[in-house]
């Protein structure tokens, strides 16, 4: 085995080991890296009341209610479990029923969250507005695009 080849193998093995080490660290500290929990994960975790948390999911259909001028209430869901959210402030443009969202806040009892910050999450689908109109015209529009 030539010296060059030995060096190459040495470098590649070192890289592979470093990579494995960092992947192991990252996956074992998963709870510190995830940006949010889903409602089901949150119930599993049994996070105590009044702890700050972020929770992500979809705004449940026909659950959005305006309480007063900029006070809102809605349900956040992952289609298995849902939480009731109260929020006072300005909503992002993309926020609507059926849309993905991430909220920051705390649990004030078992099922209620007081949100202090709301982010809209958008998915990886991009489509021209004109095509949406066409699809709607032919009633091909699928709910999942929303």
């Amino acid at each position: 085995m030539s010296l060059r080849f030995q060096r190459l193998v040495l470098i590649l093995i070192t890289l592979a080991m470093l990579g494995t080490a960092s992947i192991l660290i990252l996956f074992n500290t998963k709870q510190n890296i995830v940006f949010f929990y889903t409602p089901s994960e949150l119930i599993e975790k049994k996070i105590s009341i009044n702890n700050k948390l972020r929770i992500g999911g979809y705004v449940k259909e026909s659950s959005f209610k305006k309480i007063s001028l900029n006070k809102y209430q809605f349900k956040i869901t992952d289609n298995n479990n849902d939480f009731l959210v109260f929020y006072e402030g300005i909503l992002p443009d993309l926020f609507r029923e059926g849309q993905g969202t991430v909220i920051e806040g705390f649990l004030n009892n078992k099922n209620n969250i007081i949100a202090s910050k709301i982010y809209a999450k958008h998915d990886e689908n991009y489509m021209p507005a004109s095509i949406k109109k066409e699809l709607e015209k032919n009633s091909q529009w699928k709910k999942k695009y929303k």
Partner: protein, 231 residues
């Protein structure tokens, strides 16, 4: 045939022959790309804001591509003692830095109207911020160590260690819950982006790569001259 990738003299000869046609082609593709972006349709959900994508995504891809090239050259240079790799590492690190900054800035401008925030510490955004820090450290390392050989090897090893960040950036959106959406183009099923928007995106990516390549050629040539003590 690919000697110009490893040998400074062949590189000089090769780049001299292709440089003028390259500049011409780049200008044409860049102008075409910008026209395509101008004429591209509005998104059904994001409206006009979607056009930030045509800057954001190519910059992000090129920031990663530049680092990948530096990683490959670091391995080759360290293993086979080919100094041309060190020249390339020094020359293209600032280019990668600029693409990373462009990616972060345009992403921030895109995040405010869409997500409702300039910045969050989710896995994707944080790992790209780390990439920027790594790039800046590489540039700073070029100013350290009087002894050139020690300096070059140190930088190459640092680049190799930093390359662990590349798969983390790529897969961060799949491994963890992030606010950033998952990949639209580079996924196994067909891209979830309409062809009328994919086209300008790809043309802009080619244009960005060619602009990067032109700057890279100029910087590499300067670096070769500097080492020959002509400058």
């Amino acid at each position: 045939m690919f000697k110009f990738l490893l040998n400074p003299n062949s590189f000089n000869k090769f780049s001299d022959t292709i440089f003028k046609p390259l500049v011409a082609i780049t200008s044409i593709i860049l102008v075409t790309g910008l026209i395509l972006v101008y004429r591209s349709p509005l998104d059904y959900q994001q409206g006009l804001t979607v056009k930030i994508m045509y800057i954001h995504v190519p910059s992000a891809w090129l920031a990663l591509l530049t680092y990948a090239i530096m990683t490959i050259y670091s391995i080759i240079s360290l293993a086979f003692k080919i100094p041309f790799g060190f020249i390339i590492n020094k020359a293209i690190a600032p280019i990668g830095t600029v693409f990373t900054v462009l990616c972060l800035l345009s992403g921030s401008l895109w995040g405010k109207p869409m997500w409702g925030t300039w910045w969050v510490w989710d896995a994707r955004l944080t790992s790209v911020a780390i990439l920027l820090i790594i790039y800046v450290i590489i540039i700073f390392l070029n100013q350290t160590f009087e002894n050139r050989e020690v300096r070059e090897k140190t930088i190459a090893i640092f680049i190799l260690i930093g390359s662990i960040n590349l798969p983390i950036i790529k897969f961060s959106v799949d491994w963890w819950n992030t606010l950033h959406q998952p990949a639209s183009v580079s996924k196994l099923s067909s891209p979830s982006i309409d062809i009328s928007m994919l086209q300008p995106l790809l043309v802009m990516t080619v244009a960005f790569s060619l602009v990067g390549l032109i700057i890279a050629i100029l910087r590499i040539k300067v670096e070769i001259l500097t080492r020959k003590n002509y400058l």
